[in-house]
Symmetry: C2
Subunit: 103 residues, 2 copies
Protein backbone atom coordinates (compact mmCIF):
# COMPACT_ATOMS: atom_id res chain seq x y z
CA UNK A 1 0.00 0.00 0.00
CA UNK A 2 1.22 3.51 -0.73
CA UNK A 3 0.13 6.80 0.76
CA UNK A 4 0.13 10.14 -1.00
CA UNK A 5 0.48 12.90 1.60
CA UNK A 6 -0.35 16.43 0.52
CA UNK A 7 0.87 18.89 3.13
CA UNK A 8 -0.18 22.55 3.07
CA UNK A 9 2.43 24.82 4.72
CA UNK A 10 1.26 27.31 7.31
CA UNK A 11 2.70 30.79 7.56
CA UNK A 12 1.78 34.45 7.24
CA UNK A 13 -0.95 34.90 4.66
CA UNK A 14 -1.59 31.19 4.17
CA UNK A 15 -5.26 30.44 3.55
CA UNK A 16 -7.02 27.08 3.68
CA UNK A 17 -10.78 26.48 3.44
CA UNK A 18 -11.29 23.26 5.37
CA UNK A 19 -15.04 23.17 4.69
CA UNK A 20 -14.43 23.26 0.94
CA UNK A 21 -11.62 20.74 1.21
CA UNK A 22 -13.80 18.26 3.11
CA UNK A 23 -17.03 18.98 1.29
CA UNK A 24 -15.89 19.42 -2.31
CA UNK A 25 -12.22 18.65 -2.99
CA UNK A 26 -11.88 15.30 -1.28
CA UNK A 27 -15.20 14.03 -2.72
CA UNK A 28 -13.98 15.18 -6.17
CA UNK A 29 -10.78 13.17 -5.72
CA UNK A 30 -12.78 10.17 -4.57
CA UNK A 31 -15.12 10.35 -7.54
CA UNK A 32 -12.32 10.77 -10.09
CA UNK A 33 -10.00 8.14 -8.59
CA UNK A 34 -12.79 5.59 -8.30
CA UNK A 35 -11.99 2.15 -6.99
CA UNK A 36 -8.23 2.78 -7.21
CA UNK A 37 -8.55 4.97 -4.13
CA UNK A 38 -8.30 2.78 -1.03
CA UNK A 39 -8.72 5.43 1.62
CA UNK A 40 -8.67 9.12 2.47
CA UNK A 41 -7.67 11.02 5.60
CA UNK A 42 -7.60 14.72 6.46
CA UNK A 43 -6.05 16.56 9.39
CA UNK A 44 -6.04 20.20 10.48
CA UNK A 45 -2.87 21.47 12.12
CA UNK A 46 -3.18 22.47 15.76
CA UNK A 47 0.39 23.06 16.99
CA UNK A 48 4.00 22.08 16.74
CA UNK A 49 5.86 20.14 19.39
CA UNK A 50 5.23 22.79 22.05
CA UNK A 51 1.61 23.61 22.95
CA UNK A 52 0.73 26.92 21.33
CA UNK A 53 3.59 26.82 18.83
CA UNK A 54 2.55 27.00 15.18
CA UNK A 55 1.93 23.81 13.22
CA UNK A 56 4.23 23.36 10.22
CA UNK A 57 1.23 22.48 8.05
CA UNK A 58 -2.16 24.15 8.25
CA UNK A 59 -3.68 20.95 6.86
CA UNK A 60 -2.71 17.55 5.49
CA UNK A 61 -4.59 15.22 3.19
CA UNK A 62 -3.69 11.58 2.59
CA UNK A 63 -4.74 9.19 -0.17
CA UNK A 64 -4.15 5.44 -0.15
CA UNK A 65 -3.53 3.38 -3.29
CA UNK A 66 -2.46 -0.22 -3.82
CA UNK A 67 0.68 0.77 -5.71
CA UNK A 68 2.60 3.62 -7.33
CA UNK A 69 1.37 2.46 -10.72
CA UNK A 70 -2.26 2.68 -9.53
CA UNK A 71 -1.57 6.25 -8.40
CA UNK A 72 0.13 7.13 -11.68
CA UNK A 73 -2.85 5.89 -13.68
CA UNK A 74 -5.17 8.16 -11.70
CA UNK A 75 -2.81 11.13 -12.04
CA UNK A 76 -2.44 10.60 -15.78
CA UNK A 77 -6.20 10.58 -16.24
CA UNK A 78 -7.32 13.09 -13.61
CA UNK A 79 -4.29 14.96 -12.25
CA UNK A 80 -5.03 18.20 -14.12
CA UNK A 81 -8.68 18.28 -12.94
CA UNK A 82 -7.61 17.65 -9.35
CA UNK A 83 -4.85 20.27 -9.45
CA UNK A 84 -7.18 22.82 -11.05
CA UNK A 85 -9.39 22.68 -7.93
CA UNK A 86 -6.57 23.46 -5.48
CA UNK A 87 -6.76 27.29 -5.81
CA UNK A 88 -10.42 27.03 -4.78
CA UNK A 89 -9.41 26.24 -1.19
CA UNK A 90 -5.84 27.38 -0.59
CA UNK A 91 -3.22 29.88 -1.70
CA UNK A 92 -0.38 27.69 -0.44
CA UNK A 93 2.00 25.53 -2.45
CA UNK A 94 1.49 22.04 -1.03
CA UNK A 95 4.33 19.64 -0.35
CA UNK A 96 3.51 16.26 -1.88
CA UNK A 97 5.10 13.01 -0.84
CA UNK A 98 4.55 9.40 -1.90
CA UNK A 99 5.31 6.90 0.86
CA UNK A 100 5.18 3.18 1.42
CA UNK A 101 2.89 2.21 4.29
CA UNK A 102 4.93 0.15 6.77
CA UNK A 103 2.52 0.02 9.74
CA UNK B 1 -9.29 12.53 17.82
CA UNK B 2 -5.86 14.07 17.44
CA UNK B 3 -2.87 12.83 15.48
CA UNK B 4 0.75 13.43 16.36
CA UNK B 5 2.84 13.31 13.18
CA UNK B 6 6.59 12.94 13.55
CA UNK B 7 8.28 13.65 10.23
CA UNK B 8 11.96 12.85 9.66
CA UNK B 9 13.54 15.10 7.01
CA UNK B 10 15.51 13.50 4.23
CA UNK B 11 18.68 15.02 2.85
CA UNK B 12 22.40 14.41 2.49
CA UNK B 13 23.70 12.39 5.42
CA UNK B 14 20.27 11.67 6.89
CA UNK B 15 20.05 8.22 8.46
CA UNK B 16 16.93 6.30 9.50
CA UNK B 17 16.81 2.68 10.68
CA UNK B 18 13.31 1.56 9.69
CA UNK B 19 13.78 -1.93 11.18
CA UNK B 20 14.62 -0.46 14.59
CA UNK B 21 11.80 2.07 14.32
CA UNK B 22 9.21 -0.61 13.57
CA UNK B 23 10.65 -3.29 15.83
CA UNK B 24 11.73 -1.31 18.88
CA UNK B 25 10.75 2.35 18.92
CA UNK B 26 7.07 2.12 18.00
CA UNK B 27 6.52 -0.84 20.39
CA UNK B 28 8.26 1.22 23.12
CA UNK B 29 5.87 4.11 22.49
CA UNK B 30 2.92 1.73 22.55
CA UNK B 31 3.99 0.17 25.83
CA UNK B 32 4.66 3.52 27.53
CA UNK B 33 1.54 5.27 26.23
CA UNK B 34 -0.71 2.36 27.15
CA UNK B 35 -4.43 2.65 26.54
CA UNK B 36 -4.16 6.39 25.79
CA UNK B 37 -2.67 5.45 22.43
CA UNK B 38 -5.49 4.86 19.95
CA UNK B 39 -3.44 3.97 16.90
CA UNK B 40 -0.05 4.01 15.21
CA UNK B 41 1.01 4.36 11.60
CA UNK B 42 4.40 4.42 9.88
CA UNK B 43 5.40 5.35 6.35
CA UNK B 44 8.68 5.28 4.46
CA UNK B 45 9.24 8.06 1.92
CA UNK B 46 9.45 6.96 -1.71
CA UNK B 47 9.38 10.16 -3.76
CA UNK B 48 8.11 13.67 -4.08
CA UNK B 49 5.45 14.75 -6.55
CA UNK B 50 7.53 13.66 -9.55
CA UNK B 51 8.50 9.98 -9.82
CA UNK B 52 12.16 9.67 -8.84
CA UNK B 53 12.30 13.04 -7.09
CA UNK B 54 13.37 12.89 -3.44
CA UNK B 55 10.76 12.57 -0.70
CA UNK B 56 10.73 15.48 1.75
CA UNK B 57 10.66 13.04 4.66
CA UNK B 58 12.61 9.79 4.81
CA UNK B 59 9.95 8.47 7.21
CA UNK B 60 6.85 9.55 9.10
CA UNK B 61 5.28 8.14 12.23
CA UNK B 62 1.78 8.96 13.44
CA UNK B 63 0.17 8.45 16.84
CA UNK B 64 -3.54 8.82 17.59
CA UNK B 65 -4.92 10.06 20.91
CA UNK B 66 -8.41 11.02 22.02
CA UNK B 67 -7.36 14.56 22.92
CA UNK B 68 -4.46 16.95 23.35
CA UNK B 69 -4.73 16.48 27.11
CA UNK B 70 -4.39 12.70 26.72
CA UNK B 71 -1.24 13.29 24.66
CA UNK B 72 0.14 15.75 27.19
CA UNK B 73 -0.31 13.27 30.04
CA UNK B 74 1.70 10.68 28.11
CA UNK B 75 4.42 13.19 27.23
CA UNK B 76 4.67 14.42 30.81
CA UNK B 77 5.15 10.87 32.07
CA UNK B 78 7.14 9.31 29.23
CA UNK B 79 8.33 12.03 26.84
CA UNK B 80 11.97 11.90 28.02
CA UNK B 81 12.17 8.10 27.66
CA UNK B 82 10.66 8.27 24.18
CA UNK B 83 12.94 11.12 23.07
CA UNK B 84 16.01 9.36 24.46
CA UNK B 85 15.43 6.49 22.04
CA UNK B 86 15.37 8.69 18.92
CA UNK B 87 19.18 8.79 18.38
CA UNK B 88 19.08 4.99 18.24
CA UNK B 89 17.43 5.08 14.82
CA UNK B 90 18.03 8.47 13.23
CA UNK B 91 20.43 11.40 13.12
CA UNK B 92 17.72 13.75 11.83
CA UNK B 93 15.80 16.40 13.74
CA UNK B 94 12.17 15.39 13.30
CA UNK B 95 9.40 17.86 12.61
CA UNK B 96 6.52 17.24 15.03
CA UNK B 97 2.98 18.37 14.47
CA UNK B 98 -0.24 17.89 16.43
CA UNK B 99 -3.35 17.85 14.24
CA UNK B 100 -7.07 17.39 14.60
CA UNK B 101 -8.38 14.44 12.61
CA UNK B 102 -11.14 15.73 10.30
CA UNK B 103 -11.65 12.69 8.04
Amino acid sequence: MIKVSVMYPSGAGATFDMAYYLGTHMPLVKRLAGSALRGQAVEQGLSGAEPGSPATYVAMGHLLFDSVSALEEVLAAHGPAIMADVPNYTNTQPVLQVSEVKL
